[in-house]
Amino acid sequence: MKNDEFIVVRLEGVHKESEDTTTLTIPYDLNSKPGQFVMLWLPGKGEKPISISGEKDGKFQITICAIGSFSEAVSKLRKGDKIGFRGPFGTHYTIPKESTSLAMVGGGYGSAPLAYLAEQAALGGKKVYFIEGARTKSRLLFSERMKISGAVLLTCTDDGSEGPKCYSPDVLKDLLENHKIDKVFSCGPEIMMKRVVEISQNAGIPSEISMERYMKCGIGVCGQCCVDELGLCMCKEGPIISGELALKIREFGSYTRGSTGKKSEL
């Protein structure tokens, strides 16, 4: 019978991506796809959904930004510490077979699943434009990995400390005007993704985004991550959905529900 028990293993590596962002390397053949997530369990500290930022050679990685007590605990982990996980869960990004050029738009730690996707796309012989926006230079993630993968890295920052001083959707708009792109992928703040979807749609290009909602079970039963008004579970029918579908979700870019189910503005 179907079962999603926790798997508990010792961390193989802990890598600081930036001042407050940590990547964990977990020695387990997860058989994941870019865009999917795991429920990460730190015994005694809690459990959270975390998107997968890479997988190869029987190991997978997750990248966590320290913003609350759970992610603080993650940032204190050392090689050899035990962590638990279950998954992979949720939908994944899909690279069209016939495509040649792809654009990825990441904002902040939303770049994590896109880095994984970009590497896979590059391995499949696709041309990848990786647009990464962050508040400031020190918060830009995965630049090295992207350079190694062969992706064209286009960075921008809110303060102009690296690349042009603008937002990543602006860079996308410019890119779509000057290059033939077959599909756009995005992950990051929802307001940003909404612009990405709209820009792509205006250019007649399909897009996929990652819609994050408060998740408790990860397996499509608790109902905490269901979105209005379609009622879809973002842990199961998401988090990766087409831009077209995202625009049909009333709360996309507008509001979300917290741990009790209470609504709050985005």
């Binding site: 019978m1 179907k2 079962n3 999603d4 028990e5 926790f6 508990v8 293993v9 429920m39 369990w41 015994p43 005694g44 809690g46 459990e47 959270k48 035990k82 638990g84 408790k216 079970c217 397996i219 499509g220 039963v221 608790c222 109902g223 905490q224 269901c226 979105v227 209005d228 008004e229 379609l230 009622g231 879809l232 579970c233 529900r257 741990s259 009790t260 189910g261 209470k262 609504k263």
Partner: protein, 304 residues
């Protein structure tokens, strides 16, 4: 042929979304209803917003699931909109599940959710994973269960189902006690236990709350026995809940005495399509065994 009735409310088929599953929002309840559920139940609602337990709150094992969500909800006022949305948009009846920590508060929550006009109110007096906060569930004592029932009946004109706990030496006296005070039906059973899951490598309980209610295939025989006993002792309609994953399981519940069957953990195994699939499977078994209606099949396991 699959239609059934609960306290005067007609259901197109006997499958009911159990409380606690996909029941946080009106949109989600409506989706499950449209996917074929004969009725849908909200997640349990309290007067005030509640945070619930820290994660992990749900864990699976080889024979089912353990949960200690801890009755998290946005509170009655905020949830009215969600119930209202479901009542307006769901093709099948909506059951509002309520709970409280005191008898007076049960009355208040019942009154509050009645404003959203759900078809039925389910009175959850049997959650097994909040003992630390509330002590033993009200469903463990026939006297208290009766007083809660009386209070809720006084506070609303909507028919009520009282949700009972299997974690008692004998469920029949409790069913009789709530029936006597005017319960219009019974939902049985809530989750079993609480139980515990331990992860060997982590060397500790999996759930943050350490213990949680057990659901899924493992508890079906316990549920069947409870429903059998309740049917024998009261004439009330019953939503038979506990480990129903297939139409065959559902038919067993009906033969034990249920008028409808709750499905919760089954959603994990078969997705929300489970409601239409179980309905089809029930119909298949009815055709094969020569039953013309749910009512005709109800309680047949009691015959000498």
């Amino acid at each position: 042929m699959l239609s059934t009735e609960l306290a005067g409310i007609k259901l197109p088929n006997p499958t009911v979304l159990a409380s606690g599953i996909l029941g946080v929002t009106g949109s989600s309840l409506t989706r499950v209803s449209k996917a074929g559920a004969g009725a849908v139940t909200t997640k349990s609602i309290s007067l005030k917003e509640r945070k619930g337990h820290p994660t992990p709150v749900i864990a699976t094992y080889a024979h089912g699931m353990a949960n200690a969500v801890g009755l998290s909800n946005a509170g009655a006022e905020e949830t009215l909109l969600e119930i209202g949305y479901a009542v307006k948009n769901s093709p099948s009846p909506v059951i509002a599940s309520i709970f409280a920590s005191t008898i007076t508060e049960f009355g208040k929550v019942a009154e509050a959710v009645s404003k959203a006009k759900p078809h039925l109110i389910e009175v959850n007096i049997s959650c097994p994973n909040v003992d630390d906060e509330f002590g033993r569930p009200f469903a463990c004592d026939p006297g208290i269960a009766a007083v809660v029932t009386k209070k809720v009946k006084k506070s609303t004109s909507i028919p009520i189902l009282v949700k009972l706990s299997p974690n008692v030496p004998s469920i029949a006296p409790i069913a009789e006690a709530v029936a006597k005070e005017g319960a219009d039906g019974i939902t049985a059973i809530n989750t079993v236990g609480p139980g515990m899951l331990i992860n060997v490598e982590a060397a500790r309980p999996v759930l943050s709350n350490r213990v949680g209610g057990i659901s899924g295939p493992a508890i079906k025989p316990l549920a069947l026995k409870c429903i059998y006993d309740i049917y024998k002792s009261t004439k009330l309609p019953i939503i038979g809940t506990g480990g129903v994953t297939t139409g065959r399981d559902a038919v067993e519940m009906i033969m034990a005495g249920a008028s409808a069957t709750g499905i919760g953990t089954g959603v994990y195994y078969r997705g929300i399509e489970i409601f239409s699939k179980v309905s089809e499977e029930i119909q298949g078994l009815m055709d094969k065994e020569g039953y013309n209606s749910i009512e005709e099949m109800r309680g047949v396991a009691h015959e000498e």
